[in-house]
Amino acid sequence: MSPKGKTELMWLLGVSAILVVSAVANIAFIDGHTANIAQPTDLQTVPANSTIINVTGSQWVWEFQIGNQTYFNSGNGHSGALPLVLNHTYTFEVTSKDVIHDLSIPEFGVQSYAVPGHENQVSFKPTKLGYYYFECVEYCGFEHYEMRGYIDVTNGGAS
C-alpha cells in the first residue's frame, strides 16, 4: 500500500473509531431511555407509577390536563406554571387540535410532536428543583412564538 493510502487509512480509522464510540453510546442511551422517546401512545409501555398528563396543542395554546386540573399557556394569558414533583415520573400524552406542534422542555430532554389525529407519549422524570421553560419548536403559524411557558418543579406537598 502506498504511503498516501496509509495516511488516508489511518485518518479514516481514527474518524471511524470516534464515530463507533458515539454510535454505541447513542444506541446505549436509546436502549436505556425508550420511554423518553416520543412514540405512539401505548398504555402497555407507560412506566409504572407515572402520572399521565394529557397535553393538547392548538393554535396557539398548550393545555396540560392532570386529572381534573387544567393548566394552559398562550400569548393572551396563562394559568401559572405547570407544577411537577421532583423525582416523580410523568408521562405526556401529546396531541393536537389543528396543526403540527412540537412540545420541547430542553432542560429535561423532552420533545414530542403534537400531531392532529395521532397521540404521542413521552415519559420523563424531573431531577432538578426549580423553574424551567417549555416551548413550541415546530412552526405553527402567526403566534407560534407565544406557545411557551414554565414548569415549576417542587418537592411535592401541595400537588
Binding site: S22, I30, Y113, G117, C136, F142, Y145
Partner: protein, 585 residues
C-alpha cells in the same frame, strides 16, 4: 396599494382580505406580463438578425448556428445570454439569476435578524416575519444554491469535458424559464408556511395561519421541480454522452463527478415530494390525502424529508467539486487522492437517502425509527471526513499556496464545514437531539455550512471568472479581501451565537423569544448585519469595476484555450451580428 400583509390585521374579515389579495396578485402579474412582452420584443428583434446571419451560412435552424459558432467558447456576461441558448449562455443565466436571488433572500434574512432586536415582535409583525422566514429558506435553497450549482455546471463543463456537441440548448432554455417562473411565483405568493409545507398548516388559507396564497406557492414549487428535473437530465446527458472521446469516466475532472452525483440525487429523490405536492394541491379543494381521518399528516412530512435531506446535500455537493478544482489551481499540484475524492462524494449520494428520518426523530414514529436513523447519521460522516481529509492533505502536501481572495474563501469554507459537520455529529445523538431539535443549534449547524461553503465558494468562483464575465475587467483586490474578511467574521459570529443559544434551548423560527435569550440573539443580529455589509462591499466592487474600461485579457483559470480544440482564442464569431442588432457599439 399596500404590499405588506401587515395591513390584513386591520381588515375586518377574511373575505375582504381575499379580494384585496387577488387584486394585488393581478396587478403584480400584469406588471410581469408587460415586462415579459417587452423582453420578448427585444429578443425577437435580435433573433431576426441572427437568423439572417444563419441563413447566409446555410443553416435552417438559427439556434444550431449559434451553438455551432459559440461552442465551448468563453462568454462575456451581457443581455445576449438570455437570447442565445448555447450551454455557456444557459450557465451564465443560472449564475446571475442565482446571485440575484441570493441578494433578495439575503435581504429577507437581514430583515429577520434586525426584527429580533426586541424579545417581542415590535419591529415587524409576526406575519411578515413568517413570510421572510419561508421566502429566505426556499429561495436560498432552490433558487440560489441550486441555481449557481446548475450555472457552474452548464458554464464550466463544456470546457472541462471538451464537449463534442451542444445540442439541447432549447430544452435547457425551457427548463431555465420554468424554474425562474416557479421562483418568481413563490415570491409573489408571499406564503408563510415555511419550506416544510406541513399540511394542516399550509392548508390554512388565512394570513393568521400560514398565508393566503399557499396554493400558488405549491404550484410554484412544482414548477421549480419540473425545471430542475429537466435541467438535471440534460446535464447528465451532456456529461455521459457528449464528453470528448478521449476522456474516460475514470479521468473526468472531480467537478464533473460532483455534478453527476448531485444530479442523480435530484432525479432520484424529488419524485416523492413532487407527488406529495400534487396531493397537497388536491387537498386544498377536497381534503382526501393528508388531512382525511384515515391518514396522518406525518405522511406528508415523510414524503417531504425523503427529498428534504438530499436537497441539503445537493446544495453543497457541487461546491465540494469546485473546492477540489480551486485548490488545484492555487497550489499548482494535483489533488491528493483522485479516487477517494470520487468515493467520498459517491457514498454521500447513497447515504443521503438513508438518513432523512433524523429530521423526524421526535415526531412519534417510534424507537426503532430513532435507532435506525441515528446510527446511519453517524455513518454518513465518513464520506464527508474523506473529502475534508483530501482537501487538507492536498493543501498540506502543496509546495506553495497562493492566498488570493478565492483561496481564502475556500479555506474558510473548509473550516466552516468542519465546524458545521461536528455540530451535525452532535445532533445525531438522540439524547442531544431531544434538546436541540427545533432550536437555533440546527440553524447554526447548517448556516456554518451554507454560508461558509455554498456562499463562499460561489464567491470564489465568481471572482475567478470575473475577467471573462466582464470582458477583461479586474475587480479591486483590496475590496475583495475586505469582502472575504467581513463575510467570514460575520458568518462565524452569527452561526456561533446561534449554536450557543440553541445549546441552551433557544427555539428557531420564532418572531419573539424569552428575554433571557437576548444576548445570543443580539450577537447573531450583529453577525447577520455584518454578512449583509460584506455582500454590499462585493456589489460595490463589481459595480465600480464593471464601469471601468477593460484592462486585461478575458482568460480565466477554469477555461483554458487548449482544452477546446475548436476554439480560437480571441475570435468572437457573433460579434458582427450582435453589433448589428445592438446598433453598433
Amino acid at each position: 396599494m399596500s404590499f405588506l400583509p401587515v395591513s390584513y390585521q386591520a381588515l375586518p374579515g377574511v373575505v375582504a382580505g381575499a379580494t384585496h389579495y387577488v387584486l394585488e396578485v393581478m396587478i403584480i402579474l400584469t406588471i410581469l406580463g408587460v415586462l415579459t412582452f417587452y423582453i420578448y420584443y427585444l429578443i425577437s428583434s435580435r433573433k431576426e438578425a441572427v437568423e439572417e446571419a444563419a441563413g447566409k451560412e446555410g443553416y435552417t435552424d438559427s439556434s444550431e448556428y449559434v451553438r455551432d459558432k459559440m461552442y465551448g467558447r468563453k462568454r462575456k456576461a451581457d443581455f445576449s445570454m438570455f437570447i442565445y441558448d448555447d450551454a455557456k449562455s444557459i450557465g451564465l443565466r443560472y449564475i446571475f439569476t442565482g446571485i440575484a436571488f441570493l441578494f433578495l433572500a439575503g435581504s429577507f434574512g437581514v430583515m429577520m435578524r434586525v426584527s429580533l432586536v426586541d424579545p417581542n415582535p415590535v419591529v415587524i409583525s409576526p406575519v411578515l416575519y413568517d413570510i421572510f422566514l419561508t421566502q429566505h429558506a426556499t429561495l436560498m435553497i432552490y433558487m440560489f444554491a441550486l441555481g449557481v450549482g446548475f450555472g457552474f455546471a452548464y458554464y464550466l463543463l463544456p470546457s472541462y469535458l471538451r464537449l463534442k456537441k451542444d445540442n439541447m440548448g432549447t430544452l435547457s432554455s425551457v427548463a431555465y424559464w420554468i424554474w425562474l417562473l416557479g421562483g418568481a411565483l413563490f415570491v409573489v405568493s408571499r406564503s408563510s408556511m415555511r419550506w416544510y409545507m406541513y399540511p394542516p398548516l399550509s392548508l390554512q388559507l388565512t394570513p393568521y395561519g400560514a398565508g393566503m396564497a399557499n396554493w400558488l406557492a405549491v404550484i410554484a414549487m412544482e414548477l421549480i421541480f419540473i425545471g430542475i428535473t429537466m435541467a438535471s437530465i440534460i446535464v447528465l446527458k451532456i456529461i455521459f454522452l457528449d464528453r470528448a472521446d478521449d476522456m474516460p469516466l475514470s479521468k473526468m475532472p472531480i467537478f464533473a463527478w460532483s455534478i453527476v452525483f448531485t444530479l442523480i440525487m435530484v432525479v432520484s429523490s424529488d419524485p416523492p415530494l413532487m407527488v406529495g405536492l400534487g396531493m397537497l394541491f388536491y387537498d386544498f379543494f377536497n381534503p382526501v390525502f393528508f388531512t382525511a381521518s384515515s391518514n396522518t399528516v406525518l405522511n406528508f412530512a415523510i414524503l417531504f424529508w425523503f427529498w428534504g435531506h438530499p436537497i441539503v446535500y445537493i446544495a453543497v455537493l457541487p461546491f465540494f467539486g469546485l473546492i477540489y478544482e480551486i485548490i488545484q489551481k492555487f497550489t499548482g499540484g494535483k489533488v491528493y487522492s483522485y479516487s477517494s475524492a470520487i468515493i467520498g462524494m459517491g457514498t454521500l449520494l447513497i447515504f443521503s437517502e438513508l438518513v432523512w428520518g433524523h429530521h423526524l426523530l421526535n415526531s412519534g414514529l417510534g424507537v426503532d425509527w430513532v435507532l435506525f436513523f441515528t446510527t446511519t447519521s453517524f455513518v454518513v460522516v465518513i464520506p464527508s471526513a474523506i473529502s475534508v481529509f483530501n482537501w487538507i492533505a492536498t493543501l498540506w502536501t502543496a509546495d506553495r499556496i497562493r492566498l488570493s481572495t478565492p483561496m481564502l474563501f475556500v479555506i474558510n469554507a473548509i473550516f466552516d464545514f468542519i465546524l458545521g459537520g461536528i455540530e451535525g455529529v452532535m445532533l445525531a445523538n438522540d439524547s442531544f437531539n431531544e434538546i436541540a431539535h427545533g432550536t437555533y443549534f440546527v440553524t447554526g449547524h447548517f448556516h456554518f455550512i451554507f454560508v461558509g461553503m455554498t456562499l463562499g465558494v460561489t464567491m470564489a468562483v465568481f471572482y475567478m471568472l470575473y475577467p471573462t464575465f466582464s470582458g477583461g475587467r479586474v475587480y479591486n483586490e483590496r475590496l475583495a479581501k475586505w469582502h472575504f474578511y467581513i463575510t467570514a467574521f460575520g458568518s462565524f459570529l452569527m452561526s456561533f451565537s446561534w449554536s450557543v443559544g440553541g445549546f441552551l434551548g433557544m427555539p428557531r423560527a420564532v418572531a419573539g423569544y424569552f428575554p433571557f435569550f437576548q444576548p445570543y440573539q443580539d450577537s447573531a443580529i450583529i453577525g447577520g448585519v455584518i454578512i449583509g455589509i460584506g455582500q454590499l462591499v462585493f456589489l460595490y466592487n463589481i459595480a465600480t469595476s464593471w464601469l471601468k474600461k477593460p484592462v486585461t485579457d478575458t482568460n480565466n483559470a477554469f477555461e483554458t484555450v487548449e482544452d477546446i480544440p475548436a476554439a480560437v482564442s480571441e475570435a468572437e464569431p457573433l460579434a458582427k451580428d450582435t453589433q448589428a442588432v445592438n446598433g453598433g457599439e
